[in-house]
């Protein structure tokens, strides 16, 4: 049985709480690697976003005065995680491949 991209997105939308990627792949009955690729599709489309662990800009500069700069828990990478985009595009987006020059 194959799972559609729409079903993957619906699984995100219907999740009542955070879920593990491997648990979701088991729930949908697809390989975790395939599921990861499908999630990446929605990341490219802006419907799902990968939550970044990158140091916030302010922290990077303010760390100069921070006592625990080198021991900052940010050094420890948190697990890779995805969340639904808070402002998803409304349905299909018109495809625009080139800029048209309006007639004068």
């Amino acid at each position: 049985m194959s799972v559609t991209l729409r079903q993957v997105l619906q699984a995100f939308e219907q999740a009542g709480s955070s879920v593990r990627l491997d648990a979701l792949s088991r729930q949908l009955g697809i390989d975790p690697g395939t599921l990861d690729g499908m999630i990446q599709h929605w990341v490219r489309k802006g419907r799902i976003k990968e939550v970044s662990d990158a140091l916030p800009d302010g922290c990077a500069t303010s760390c100069h005065g921070c006592d625990v700069q080198s021991g900052c828990p940010f050094v420890a990478r948190m697990p890779r995680r995805y969340a639904l985009a808070t402002t998803p595009p409304p349905g299909p987006v018109p495809l625009r491949l080139y800029e048209r020059v309006e007639p004068q």
Binding site: S18, M38, S62, D67
Partner: protein
């Protein structure tokens, strides 16, 4: 849709023809195939495009929205006609199927891949459930996950407190004995014996900043255990479990990152709120971060825990972390339902790495980095704070003599503040003064108490001023060996039913611990710890808060935390007194 798999060998070209044949078999379904044919025809109408590109490949790639390719096609003869056709097809498909054309293309491919995987991969009968999966079923269980995390943390704090205590005693002995003696001897040689310089070095620098070094073993062991948990992959599970826990409480799951960072230091924790999109969520999380007990507060709990609760000091430390979390949860509820009504919590899909055997190299590197940061703080921030406190304890001079501590500038300011803490049971000028200097950095609470009580005791009891360097060095080495042996025994004795320490095994008290017992009761000490946990964060955190959320929220945070800390400490003391625990 299922397709037969084509046998192939990577380093031979034997299957090229067969693969080419099968690639033609792939179709994008009844919705797309007719449209691809239309587009192919448009491409073939341009001699340039049809000679430069394979028409079907070009048709599919343009429908996928490849912007780079589209830019090249736009400049080719007949290219704009092709691109117009692509856009018309995309609009038609979206209207018919309610889906973007590139999503439909990807869908067909994933369906093909799934079919192929289904045919080519043989799964084990148990569905490929690994040992890691089985462990996760328990460690990330919806109800068991949080208790397991709390139990593990309790074990970590217990082990840290028990295992490190012998090294704490050893370092305290070294600083109060040989190091102080060498300093006194050196000053005597320079003719500075009995002068302000001696007081500054012994009562200021050594008793204050030097006294903080006794906590290095505690941090070494704590960071070691935490690094082992982190490198084993468990901490990722803890993050997952706590995220889900926070969502149940109605808080944004994303908040757990700043809060987790807050356990190390509030400053990066406050800046980490930038990962939240909504300003209300950012402020709400920023208000919670300082309640997470940062590493700077740990020396206060360790000091009070070992002074009043001995081998059970780990329980006090653990309780402080829990109280901090509880205060944050209550604050979250309060703010979320009043001034900071925020959006519905957001859910995550997390990829958890498999469990693995921790790498000693990685663990030791983390221990070195994190403990090194504390040692660096001792020689910078705490050293400066100790000198400032020493100056305030020694002015104004009268007839060339320093004042009585209580009459010093420090004592005067502290006496003014002290009555506010009477209902909480620790309304002495010493503890009040330590809380005031704790605003510089929370560790300064301990160094200030060390300075006050060391000065009050007229220099350290162990420092005699006379020194035999070789004997002292020998004592230090022997002391280290004894501490190591006791630590090994204590570690083995953690195994239930094993006791290598003997029935009358007792740890030595440091001078500061003894002084604390003269000025606090166990109840007032606990109330004091709760106040230190909950009151206004240090100056650096306050500055970060103002930077992120503005002056209004900064003052709100300062006031709110002071009130919460005072109420919690007073409640603890008053209820404890009523129950006869005082």
């Amino acid at each position: 849709m299922t397709r037969p798999a084509a046998p192939t060998v990577a380093d031979r070209s034997m299957t090229t023809l067969e693969l080419q044949t099968r690639s033609r078999l792939f179709d994008y379904g009844p919705e797309l195939e007719p449209e691809i044919v239309v587009l192919q025809a448009a491409i073939e109408a341009s001699p340039t495009l049809s000679s430069d590109y394979a028409p079907r490949w070009l048709a599919v790639t343009l429908l996928e929205g490849d912007a780079d390719l589209a830019a090249r096609i736009a400049s080719a003869p007949g290219g704009l006609v092709v691109l117009d056709t692509v856009e018309q097809i995309a609009a038609r498909v979206a209207a018919t199927c309610g889906e973007d054309v590139d999503t439909l293309i990807a869908d067909r491919r994933y369906a093909f891949i799934s079919g192929l995987v289904g045919q080519a991969v043989t799964r084990p009968a148990d569905g490929g459930v690994t040992r890691s999966d089985k462990l996760d079923q328990v460690a990330t269980h919806p109800w068991l996950g949080v208790p397991i995390f709390l139990i593990l943390m309790w074990v970590v704090f217990q082990m840290t407190a028990n295992v490190s205590s012998y090294y704490v005693d050893w370092i305290d002995g070294v600083i109060a004995g040989p190091v102080s003696n060498w300093a006194l001897a050196l000053l005597g040689t320079l003719g500075l014996s009995g002068t302000w310089a001696e007081s500054l070095l012994v009562d200021g620098v050594i008793a204050g900043a030097g006294g903080m070094l006794v906590f290095v073993p505690v941090l070494l062991f704590l960071y070691f255990f935490l690094a082992v948990l982190e490198d084993s992959g468990y901490m990722a599970r803890a993050a997952f479990v706590m995220d889900r826990f926070m969502q149940r409480l109605g808080l944004q799951g994303k908040s757990f990152i700043p809060l987790l960072v807050g356990f190390g230091c509030s400053v990066p924790g406050i800046y980490a709120t930038r990962t939240l999109e909504d300003r209300r969520d950012r402020i709400l999380t920023g208000m919670l971060v300082p309640f997470m007990s940062c590493a700077a507060r740990l020396p206060v709990y360790i000091l009070i825990g070992t002074a009043f609760f001995g081998a059970s000091s780990g329980n006090l430390v653990f309780a402080m972390y829990l109280i901090g979390i509880a205060a944050a949860v209550m604050t979250g509820f309060l703010l979320r339902n009043t001034v900071l009504k925020s959006n519905e919590p957001q859910f995550f899909v997390m990829e958890l790495p498999p469990y693995r055997r921790p790498s000693m190299k990685t663990v030791l590197r983390q221990v070195r980095m994190r403990t090194g940061a504390f040692v660096q703080a001792v020689w910078t921030v705490l050293m400066a704070a100790s000198i400032i406190v020493w100056v305030l304890l020694n002015v104004p001079y009268h007839n060339g003599q320093p004042p009585e501590l209580e009459d010093s500038l420090f004592g005067g300011v502290s006496r003014t503040v002290a009555p506010a803490f009477k209902p909480a049971g620790f309304g002495t000028w010493e503890s009040s003064g330590a809380l005031v200097t704790g605003l510089l950095a929370k560790e300064v609470v301990v160094s200030t108490l060390g300075q006050i009580y060391a000065t009050a005791a007229d220099n350290s009891d162990d420092a005699t001023g006379s020194t035999a360097f070789v004997d002292d060095a020998k004592d230090i080495v022997v002391g280290f060996g004894t501490a190591t042996l006791d630590t090994v025994k204590a570690t083995i004795s953690l195994i239930p039913g094993v006791n290598l320490m003997g029935a009358d095994a007792e740890e030595e008290d440091t001078a500061l611990e003894t002084a604390l017992r003269d000025h606090f009761t166990p109840l007032t000490a606990v109330a004091f710890s709760i106040f230190v946990l909950l009151y206004t964060p240090c100056m650096a955190a306050i500055a970060a808060f103002r930077h992120e959320f503005g002056s209004r929220w900064m003052w709100a945070n300062i006031g709110y935390m002071l009130v919460v800390a005072w109420l919690a400490a007073t409640l603890t003391y008053q209820v404890g007194s009523l129950l006869g625990l005082g």
